[in-house]
């Protein structure tokens, strides 16, 4: 028995070691995650409190409060915009420099309470303007992330792997011998996956929303539009990856290369608000970031189409560029 077991064990090990793509990704993926997370969350200690400053902090640099350690000062364009952030506890305090300075603090926010103490210690004459508003429960914040992640995996792997399998098995070659054009084939794949995604995501939304008693603050129709554009952009990415290649290892590697950065950088699990600027720029380039930002704005804060138009336009552009590239580079056969 042992001999047979060892024989199979040895052969399987050889198979694994010789499958270089899998081996490389098995070793490199955990390493790259650690290195990436180190870059994102490493470095000096992060600020504990966030203060929005109307008009920017530059004009008030001399004030003692602006030298408080572990407080991050963020420029906000207007008091109204900053107030929205304070109400949702996305910043701990909003300050308008002047004589005397005015500040808005959320009376429901524990961090707002501490930040107020720090401000008054530096400037006891600051004028207090209390506001109220509950912080978002983490589950509510996570909900769009989970939906987006599901859309991403389903679109990238669902489309990428299927097209690869069709090519490897010769099914694409057989289709090539019919009047079917590459555009028709790709469009059918896109529409099929989009239909499935919309049904699955709607089902998931209904089940999870019922479970966690979630009610979208914004329009469901707008949410549907975001999901359509988000899914299309991911499907286009998946098709681009699978457009030419016939190697399972390579396609698997490329799909992992796309999904892992999006998992970590697009704000599925946590906000990247405090991360370095270059990380945020990189994250903004990812379609999942745009998708989740738009979805959260609508679901959590009731944003209208105007507020999320840049996200929608970006997703539409990504879709067009990658679908165009995918169709152009598409190969029917190995």
């Amino acid at each position: 028995m042992m001999r047979r077991l060892l024989s199979v064990w040895h052969a399987r090990n050889l198979e694994f070691i010789r499958d270089r793509g899998t081996l490389v990704f098995t070793l490199l993926l955990p390493l790259s995650i650690i290195v990436g997370m180190g870059f994102i969350f490493g470095g000096p200690p992060r600020p504990l409190f966030k203060v929005g400053v109307v008009g920017g902090a530059a004009a008030a640099r001399a004030d003692a409060f602006f030298h408080t350690r572990y407080v991050q000062f963020l420029a906000v364009p207007s008091a109204a915009a900053g107030l929205h952030e304070v109400r949702h506890q996305r910043i701990d305090l909003l300050l308008e420099p002047g004589a005397p300075p005015r500040y808005w603090v959320n009376t429901d926010s524990p961090k707002g309470y501490i930040t107020e103490k720090l401000l008054l210690a530096a400037d006891p004459h600051a004028l207090r303007l209390p506001v109220s508003g509950k912080a978002l429960p983490y589950l509510d914040w996570l909900f769009p992330g989970i939906l987006g992640m599901n859309v991403m995996f389903s679109c990238l792997f669902g489309v990428g792997y299927v097209v690869l399998r069709y090519r490897q098995s010769g099914f694409l070659k057989r289709l090539h011998a019919t009047p079917l054009s590459a555009f028709e084939f790709l469009s059918a794949q896109v529409l099929s996956r989009l239909t499935i995604i919309l049904i699955v995501t709607t089902g998931l939304y209904l089940v999870i929303a019922t479970m966690i008693h979630f009610h979208s603050a914004g329009s469901i129709a707008l949410l549907l539009l975001i999901t359509v554009l988000g899914a299309l952009s991911m499907i286009a990415l998946g098709l681009t990856v699978a457009a030419r290649f016939a190697s399972e290892e390579l396609v698997n590697g490329l799909l992992n290369l796309l999904t892992w950065p999006m998992m970590l950088l697009s704000g599925v699990w946590f906000s990247l608000a405090g991360s370095p600027k270059w990380v945020q720029w990189a994250a903004d380039a990812l379609p999942l970031t745009q998708f989740l930002h738009a979805a959260r704005e609508v679901m959590l804060y009731g944003a209208g189409i105007g507020a999320i138009a840049p996200n929608l336009i970006y997703l539409a552009l990504v879709t067009l560029v990658f679908l165009g590239f995918g169709a152009w580079s598409f190969k029917w056969r190995i």
Partner: protein, 295 residues
């Protein structure tokens, strides 16, 4: 002479370091079953795939009804590749319906199922078909658009003898409907049975072309004697015989059987294992190339 439905002109297909097809030309009249016969790697599949419009030739052209391959050809051609996988989780009928939907015109699906003896399997998952059944389904898919020209690329490779004979019967029934068939094979029996005309391909070139029986008459005398190589002594090699040395046997062609037998007896060649049979396409290929067809 019937008008050619397909014309192949000076086909050349080169890959880095390899010339797969080297100047092949022929034409196929409508309603004919035309066979491309040759060993593995001879260039048959490359030639047929260029004819199907799947591969682009390095030089030369293929014309369908006098015109370059185009939309009309794709609508009117039925193709059975050497190996094709179908979509998972679809039944035989659903697979047929999918391909049926790709063409502007087609045959009724039930009619195709009947033609290919698939009625009883219509609702079966196509992953659960045997090799012969799957090949019949692939043929049914090739027929679903009621093609004017049908390409069969080594259609019976890998089938057991019974399934192969069933498949031949099916192809003969399609031939009876006056469809043009282009068949590649390395089974001489298949070519002899199904093809009205054959082209023997070797190393990317046609080395012989014509009606199978006429080709055999042209290259062979009446009979062929076959002896195990071990039974043929070195001393007999100098005998004035028309001889071909195959891997395991020696083949002698003659139109004077009595005289040849006398020569062998006089040279003390043991005749215990001698076989006398008519020549076939396998022998023709051996005669033309010095190599066996399935080598």
């Amino acid at each position: 002479m019937r008008a050619p439905i397909l014309e192949v002109r000076d086909l050349l297909k080169q890959y880095p370091g390899v010339t797969a097809v080297n100047g092949i030309s022929f034409s196929v009249p409508e309603g004919m079953c035309f066979g491309l016969l040759g060993p593995n790697g001879a260039g048959k599949t490359t030639t047929i795939e260029i004819m199907e419009g799947i591969l682009t030739p390095t030089a030369g052209e293929v014309r369908y009804r006098g015109e370059p391959l185009g939309e009309r050809f794709r609508e009117e051609a039925g193709i059975l590749f050497q190996a094709t996988a179908l979509q998972n989780f679809l039944t035989v009928r659903q697979s047929l319906a999918m391909f049926h939907g790709l063409y502007a015109h087609g045959r009724d699906i039930d009619e195709v199922l009947k033609l290919c003896s698939l009625e009883a399997l219509a609702e079966r998952d196509n992953r659960k078909l045997s090799g012969g059944q799957l090949q019949r389904l692939l043929l049914a898919i090739a027929l679903v658009n009621d093609p004017a020209v049908l390409f069969l690329d080594e259609p019976t490779t890998g089938l057991d003898p019974q399934a192969r004979r069933n498949f031949w019967a099916l192809v003969e029934s399609i031939k009876a409907q006056h469809k043009t068939i282009i068949l590649t094979t390395h089974y001489m029996e298949e070519a002899e049975l199904l093809c009205d005309e054959i082209a023997i391909v070797d190393r990317g070139r046609i080395i012989a072309q014509g009606v199978p029986r006429a080709l055999l008459r042209e290259h062979f005398a009446a009979v062929l004697l076959e002896l195990p190589r071990a039974d043929f002594p070195d001393g007999a090699r100098k005998l004035p015989l028309q001889r071909i040395d195959a891997d395991d046997r020696v083949e002698i062609t003659t139109d004077d059987l009595d005289a040849t037998l006398r020569t062998l007896i006089n040279a003390e060649v043991p005749l215990k294992n001698l076989r006398i049979r008519p020549a076939n396409l396998e022998d023709l290929f051996l005669e033309l190339t010095g190599r066996e067809l399935r080598a």
